[in-house]
């Protein structure tokens, strides 16, 4: 099969890649761009470890073809730090003790980020719903939710994109 060329924004930068049309976005990001924060845990959109933000929505990149993101904007956790400073969510996850094994963490942060970008003052239920597609086997989610709430508190409604 021939390759297709896609142009998209990855973590704020314009990029392009010649890709096999059957290649998943997950593999494009990990292999072609070397961004390994995007994890593969189940390959069927159940665990959420491969979550990225696509045009403002949290999506599982194992269920999207690379060719579909032509013209889109994609954010991974590597794109959250600004000038060497952690994003408010990253810092809040650290402070809340939300990280154990860390395999779900990037996806979890991105699902929370996508929520806060649309809704800077979410309720507890809205937070739970937003991260309910991201499975974590270590923490029992409590400190992850604490982390998101801490970020909300600290941000005062001011969330960077």
């Amino acid at each position: 099969m021939g390759k297709v060329k896609v142009f998209f924004k990855l973590n704020g930068e314009d990029v392009s890649s010649e890709i096999d049309p059957s290649k998943r976005l997950l593999d494009v990001i990990r292999e072609d761009f070397g961004l390994t924060s995007v994890k593969e845990g189940c390959s069927e959109g159940e665990c959420g470890a491969c979550t990225v933000i696509l045009n403002g929505e949290a999506v599982t990149s194992c269920c999207i073809l690379g060719a579909q993101v032509d013209g889109c904007s994609v954010t991974t956790v590597e794109g959250l730090e600004k000038n060497g400073e952690l994003d408010i969510l990253q810092q809040a996850f650290l402070d809340a003790g939300a990280v154990q094994c860390g395999f779900c963490t990037p996806g979890m942060i991105l699902s929370a980020k996508a929520l806060l970008m649309k809704n800077p003052n979410p309720t507890l239920e809205e937070i739970k719903t937003a991260i309910s597609g991201n499975l974590c086997r270590c923490t029992g989610y409590k400190k992850i939710i604490d982390g998101v709430q801490l970020a909300v508190e600290r941000s005062n409604g001011d969330i960077n994109e």
Binding site: E40, E44, Q91, Q100, C101, I145
Partner: protein, 754 residues
């Protein structure tokens, strides 16, 4: 009381920043030039004699670098944690679905996958044995050798037969537990590389030193020629103690001399990683009219599946914990571990103790009911205390906090559950239940040391080298806290290299909730050795005996004369001038005895953790749904080195324990697993969490580092039994099998009312 600088503080995890920024490298994130990708050909039958594996067509596929079978193994083709009964690649007989028959390395994963399809396999199928009772019959198909009885245990304390005659009340019940899957979010993966005569493997693992030994034996190499490095590991829970990718990678790099990566799919991980042992447990417990326990008799049959993995340890631990945290003067337990063609069982958070707790905690409630007592009182009356004798006749001397966990949990329950009232719809019933547990820290009745090295650098910062694998629970952080406190330096200036057989001494397995206690002690000893050198010089500089000198906040000062002090930097300068190096090494082995082979009497553990959970549930009597509303979880951890991380263990254990009790329903049919991914093996999500109230009880253990014991497995154990007791409290039905699926609850209600 104490004025610790670092101990007990919720300092930031050492692995925190790499993990929130996505920079932490898990095995599948590691990449090398001209790396090959591996795939494993796995059996699609569960029991068969292997006649032929023809790899010739696969070898010819362009892009394929190697196709290996059992014939290509230069050393031993038998591995296993305790018994070497598992082939790396099958050479004689297939014993379960997913047994490895051949392994391929190719330029891409796709080519490797294609090559698998070109391998021709011939075998003669054999009859299956999937039921433990069938397996024990004389004419059953045999999985290994001429018996399916893998091992047995007998525990005898006192005279059970006589004691039952004296009981005023006796309860008897049979309990059953299912398979469970660890479902760590990262499936197993590894990468290997050969350079300058050294084979290095980076793997997702809980025990790199064990892995190194197995790889070296399989390849016929000395252990010094193999290095295993624990890559960042995405959860373990016991499931990454067995060998997964390591030996395949070793073999492929041995033959190709090229770097190789092998990453399991979720389905592959599910099919071949170990599962929790299904137990069938017959219990008989008797007490006098005051509720004092007099006798207990139990019989267990446990299914190990096709291989032994940790079976001999799980059966031992299940038996010695069979009474729960109560003193019973007369106990007899007989247990059998059985081979079948079912999925392999092994270590899973709790090692057989979650299973027996389902039984002993319901026995307690049933006795209380017969005696018209409340479940709390019968537990208080019988709980282990200082001076009690356990079922192995170990006299308990120190750090026995079970009563305190009961008291603290009850206090909280009165505040948040028992005094709350609410309007319920007619289809909802609420109930409260108690679950208690005890858990021996470290391996059962066996030596299980851990060791550590340490160096203080010229600027006062410290590097610790410890074999202990941090799989997310936070041992790297805990080790650094212990060292920082011991040496009086800042936590931030202590760095750790862990779980790398090339640079750290053996820390043993990250299992049995043992690393804080055992590796923690090893690190503390290493730090104390280094401190001794600092103190020699401080004595000189302060002109005082070292017994009077305190090392804290990077200064040494004389007790009571704080103005007489000297900075760590000055001490280090003097050390440098005198040619003294500040290094340390330490190892710690818990003080245990072997258990008597006929009665299992002895001292299996140096210390025990204890816990009590109060759980409130709501049962929907129309649908059978059991919802956990509140969990009060009081844990005696000895000393919390890092409070937030202890809470994290408790909260995570609570959710996993709810899964064990209610939701996780692994299905095996004719030895084949039906539930291979998160779509049909469900685990709880953020939407399902109850209110969790962790309570940390600190009954300090004199032999623990700063009094610490452990909490990893204890966090899970009391949850399911407390749920079962709460459900009984809510609807009056006693369930003896887990998980409590909707169907089971509805059936239980129907039986009660029809």
């Amino acid at each position: 009381m104490n004025d610790f600088n670092v101990i007990g503080k919720s300092v930031q995890k050492k692995d925190g920043i790499p993990k929130v920024t996505g920079k932490a490298l898990f095995a599948r994130d590691i990449k090398f030039e001209s790396m090959l990708y591996a795939k494993v050909l796995r059996s699609k039958v569960a029991h068969a004699l292997l006649k032929r594996v023809d790899t010739s067509k696969a070898e010819k596929l362009p892009g394929v670098a190697a196709v290996l079978t059992s014939k290509d193994i230069p050393g031993s083709n038998r591995i296993g944690i305790i018994m070497k009964d598992e082939p790396v690649l099958v050479d004689d007989k297939i014993r379960r679905y997913g047994d490895a028959l051949a392994v391929v390395a190719a330029e891409t994963e796709e080519i490797a996958e294609e090559a698998l399809n070109l391998i021709e396999v011939e075998y003669d199928e054999l009859p299956l044995v999937t039921n433990v009772y069938e397996a024990l019959k004389e004419d059953s198909p045999k999985v290994h050798g001429d018996t399916n009885l893998l091992t047995t245990r007998t525990l005898i304390k006192g005279d059970v037969d006589e004691a039952f005659k004296k009981c005023d009340v006796i309860v008897e019940k049979i309990y059953k537990t299912n398979y469970y899957a660890h479902m760590f979010i990262e499936p197993e993966a590894g990468v290997s590389k050969y350079e300058n005569g050294l084979l290095t493997i980076w793997a997702s693992t809980q025990n790199p030193h064990f892995d190194r030994g197995e790889v070296a034996r399989v390849l016929g190499l000395p252990q010094s020629k193999v290095r295993v490095v624990q890559a960042e590991t995405g959860g373990g829970f016991g499931g990454k103690l067995d060998i997964s990718t390591q030996c395949f990678l070793g073999l492929l790099t041995y033959h190709t001399k090229k770097p190789v990566k092998l990453a399991y799919t979720r389905e592959e991980s599910m099919e071949v990683s170990s599962k929790r042992h299904p137990h069938i447990m017959k219990y008989k417990t008797g007490a006098d009219k005051n509720g004092k326990l007099i006798a207990m008799e139990a019989e267990f049959i446990e299914d190990s599946g096709a291989y032994a993995s940790y079976a001999p340890a799980v059966i031992t631990r299940a038996v010695v914990h069979s009474t729960g945290p109560y003193e019973i003067p007369n106990v007899r337990v007989r247990a059998s571990m059985v081979y079948t063609n079912n999925p392999m069982a092994g270590a899973f958070r709790g090692f057989g103790v979650p299973q027996v707790s389902i039984a002993h905690e319901q026995q307690m409630d049933m006795l209380a009911e017969k005696l018209n007592m409340i479940p709390y009182d019968i537990r208080i009356i019988n709980a282990l205390r200082v001076g009690s004798y356990t079922c192995t006749m170990q006299k308990l001397e120190d750090s026995i906090g079970v009563v305190e966990t009961l008291e603290k949990a009850r206090e909280k329950a009165e505040e948040v559950i028992l005094n709350s009232t609410c309007e319920l719809s007619s289809r909802k019933r609420r109930g409260v239940g108690i679950g208690c547990m005890w858990y021996g820290i470290g391996n059962t009745g066996l030596p299980n040391p851990a060791s550590a090295f340490l160096e203080m650098h010229k600027d006062g910062s410290v590097t610790v080298m410890a074999g202990c694998a941090d799989i997310g629970q936070g041992s790297n952080t805990v080790m650094c806290q212990i060292v920082a406190e011991t040496l009086g330096v800042n936590y931030e200036e202590v760095n750790i290299i862990s779980a790398d057989t090339g640079s750290t001494p053996d820390g043993g397995a990250t299992s049995a909730s043992r690393q804080t206690y055992i590796s923690g002690n090893a690190c503390k000893k290493a730090a104390e050795m280094a401190k001794e050198s600092l103190m020699q010089v401080a004595e000189e500089l302060l002109n005082s005996p070292k017994e009077d000198i305190i090392l804290k906040n990077k200064r040494a000062y004389v007790k009571g004369h704080e103005d007489n002090n000297v900075s760590l930097q000055e001490i280090l300068s003097r050390c440098a001038a005198k040619g003294i190096m500040i290094v340390g090494s330490g190892y710690f082995n818990p003080n245990t005895t072997g258990l008597d082979p006929h009665t299992m009497q002895g001292v299996p553990f140096a210390t025990y953790a204890f816990a009590t959970h109060f759980i409130e549930v709501e049962v929907d009597i129309y649908t059978g749904e059991v919802k956990v509303l509140k969990v009060i979880a009081a844990h005696d951890v000895g000393k919390a080195i890092n409070r937030k991380m202890v809470e994290g263990q408790i909260e995570g254990g609570c959710l996993m324990g709810m899964g064990l009790g209610i939701l996780e329903n692994l299905q095996v049919e004719n030895a084949k697993m039906k539930t291979l991914n998160f779509s049909n093996y469900l685990i709880y999500t953020a939407k399902d969490i109850p209110e969790i109230y962790p309570i940390i009880v600190e009954s300090e253990e004199s032999t623990g580092p700063f009094g610490a014991k452990g909490v990893g497995e204890p966090a899970l154990i009391p949850v399911a039994p407390a749920i079962l007791n709460a459900v009984h409290n809510a609807i009056g039905v006693r369930f003896t099998e887990i998980p409590l699926t909707l169907e089971k609850v509805v059936e239980g209600l129907n039986n009660k009312f029809n």
